[in-house]
């Protein structure tokens, strides 16, 4: 009997040890960024693991000097517009791809997916020429258009899969009720697709929010940049000095909108996981 008890105790202990290890590995970089952002002056170069004197100097510096606030608004604008356009196009496309039988549907789906297989670098040069030709260079619209390259394939795919799982009878009931395709999508399917829309929208937002390469290439003005590039380009008093404090403060500020979004839509995401429970 006692042997069994000890055995169980050891197992539980090992389990929590493993959990602790995973937690520390996963969270340490974030934790270190946050405590560093509160350090001022030369304290940055001392390695400490607990916050001692907290200083807001880095935050004040980042938010009041230079173009960072403008960059922040740029990012919000670009990401929001990308999400809105992506979701609109994806919902309409997925209705056709999931519900209308036509020749080449499978091929089209594979093609859409294969677009996302190319590395960004591969399309960079060609895309640059296109953006120049459209006269969008150095505008936020260049980013909005180019971000669709990676947001659309997965929004279309996820929504197509989700839409395919919605009961056909509901659509047929709507047809019998006299609903047009647009009414079916907007009045019947869209309300049922909230969980999928929120989840894919959030992922698209995060992808657009964090994008670096296109943002670096297609925009050259400090005022038109988005935050990932702006943070990378924060420079110190001399080229020898890397201003870790402001960089960390900016990074923390940048994650705030994402955290807020996730908190707002948290319930929707959870209900998205149980969407199968909806029965006609």
């Amino acid at each position: 009997m006692e042997g069994v008890e000890v055995n169980k105790l050891i197992k539980t202990g090992l389990f929590y040890l493993l959990v602790g290890f995973i937690l520390v590995t996963a969270l340490f970089p974030f934790y270190y960024a946050i405590i560093t952002s509160f350090k001022g002056g030369t304290a940055i170069f001392e390695v400490t693991y607990l916050p001692n004197d907290i200083s807001l100097a880095n935050y004040i510096g980042v938010l009041t000097h230079g173009s960072f606030p403008q960059n922040f608004l740029n990012s919000i604008f670009v990401s929001s517009v990308v999400v809105i356009i992506s979701l609109f196009l994806a919902v309409t496309a997925s209705f056709a791809l999931a519900r209308i039988r036509f020749r080449g549907r499978g091929l089209l789906l594979i093609t859409i997916l294969s677009v996302s297989m190319f590395p960004q670098v591969a399309v960079l040069a060609g895309l640059f020429e296109m953006i120049r030709a459209f006269g969008l260079y150095n505008t936020l619209w260049s980013l909005i258009i180019s971000y669709m390259i990676f947001t659309l394939p997965f929004t279309v795919w996820v929504l197509t899969t989700f839409m395919r799982d919605l009961p056909v009878e509901i659509e047929e009931a709507a047809i019998v009720d006299g609903a047009s395709s647009w009414v079916i999508v907007s009045k019947v399917f869209l309300p049922l697709m909230w969980p999928a829309l929120v989840t894919t929208g959030l992922l698209a937002f995060i992808a657009a929010w964090n994008e670096f390469l296109f943002a670096l290439t297609f925009v050259s003005n400090n005022d038109t940049r988005t935050v990932p590039v702006a943070i990378a380009l924060i420079s110190g008093a001399s080229s020898q000095e890397i201003p870790w404090g402001p960089i960390m403060a900016a990074s923390v500020v940048v994650t705030v909108p994402l955290v807020i979004l996730v908190l707002i839509f948290q319930r929707r995401i959870i209900s998205g996981l149980t969407a199968g429970g909806v029965k006609g």
Binding site: E169, A173, I175, V176, D177, G178
Partner: protein, 364 residues
């Protein structure tokens, strides 16, 4: 107030022919039930009438107007689905009002009046503010029927509406549908089921389908008493009609049925055009009665007894036939397994089928 006419309606999905040359006239205000085993094409036929499925060839007319190309709402049909198909995010009220709102033309007050009327008929008026997920299966199906009533359809279609309900609720809802047909006497109703009890109890006329072909159309009693072929004979009635082949023999003008202890029973054929090289004899389990050894048609030993309370089913092994004969006998008849039993049936209740399974008419 709409009559339907189907002329040579065919439907193929790719190379598969689901319906072959269906011809059917449905009178205005009639309650017609499509019945048949799964895969017989009954649901496809209903969906073709609804407009959810295209017609491959042939014409479908409502009141002499060809509607092949019209959408479901242009045809003025309403449909009740097996899985209810309510809009999950809308309240009962909104579910029922959705179709009328889309149609436009009617004021809010008119829509409200119609929704409340329909809800009252189906006793769902106290649930108008609820969502479908807050209702039981039976209530959901009533809301679905209510949604169809609100649209005041010319043709009312039911696609196995009771299949998802439990047995008690099924009987109750069946009666409600029958009552609905009485209150909406002008509305043509078409109902698909695989359940012959629903078909028998609800229908003015039954259409029996098999493999995309209409086997017989007739009133429930016509189908029961005068099946035109073996398939219909066996499909209607439970337990199914006993079919004995290799028992009766024919000389072209009459059919001889051997009897265990007397001369064969001779039945004169009214029509000898069928393939009479092989005659099959049919008799319903409920038409068989216990007889004495002298005049009986069948003699055998009871291999199995099923006591159901109101009746008992006796499985009787015959010497001349491999399949047991099933007889529905009074439950108080003193029978035991292994016992020899003599059975007979009135000549009127015997059915004859030729080698192709077509019914053969005869006079005793």
């Amino acid at each position: 107030m709409t009559s339907l006419k189907l002329e040579n309606v065919c439907k193929s999905f790719g190379a598969v022919d689901v319906l072959r040359n269906v011809n059917l006239d449905i009178k205005s205000g009639e309650f017609v039930v499509f019945v048949g085993p799964s895969g017989c094409g009954k649901s496809t036929l209903l969906r073709i009438i609804s407009g959810l499925e295209d017609i491959t060839s042939g014409t479908l007319s409502f009141e002499d107007e060809v509607v092949n190309k019209l959408t479901p709402s242009q045809r003025g049909i309403a449909m009740v689905f097996q899985s209810y198909a309510l809009y999950p995010h809308m309240t009962v009220y909104d579910n029922m009002a959705f179709g009328m709102k889309l149609q436009g033309g009617q004021g809010k007050a008119e829509i409200d009046k119609r929704v409340r009327e329909a809800a009252a008929i189906l006793q769902v008026d106290q649930y108008l503010d609820r969502l479908p997920k807050q209702l039981s299966g039976g209530q959901r199906q009533r809301v679905a029927i209510g949604r169809a009533i609100v649209r005041d359809p010319s043709v009312f279609l039911f696609d196995e509406p009771l299949s998802n309900l439990d047995a008690a609720l099924r009987v109750q809802t069946r009666i409600e549908i029958a009552r609905l047909h009485e209150t909406m006497a002008d509305t043509t109703m078409i109902y698909v089921t695989h359940d012959q009890v629903e078909a028998m109890t609800l229908a003015d006329r039954i259409v029996v389908l098999r493999d995309g072909v209409v086997e017989q159309v007739g009133s429930p009693m016509e189908l029961y008493h005068r099946p035109t072929n073996l398939f219909v004979a066996q499909f209607i009635g439970s337990p199914a009609m006993n079919i004995l082949d290799g028992v009766a023999s024919s000389n072209g003008a009459s059919v001889m049925i051997p009897r265990p202890s007397s001369d064969p029973l001779a039945l004169d054929l009214k029509d000898s055009s069928g393939r009479l090289d092989k005659v099959q004899l049919g008799v319903r389990p409920e038409d068989l009665v216990v007889a004495d050894g002298q005049t009986s048609l069948f003699e055998g030993t009871i291999s199995y007894l099923e006591q159901l309370g109101e009746v008992q089913h006796a499985y009787v092994d015959l010497a001349a036939h491999s399949k047991p004969l099933i007889a529905k006998l009074p439950s108080d008849a003193q029978l035991s397994r292994g016992e020899t039993i003599h059975l007979t049936a009135a000549t009127d209740n015997l059915k004859l089928f030729d080698a192709d399974g077509k019914a053969v008419a005869f006079a005793a």
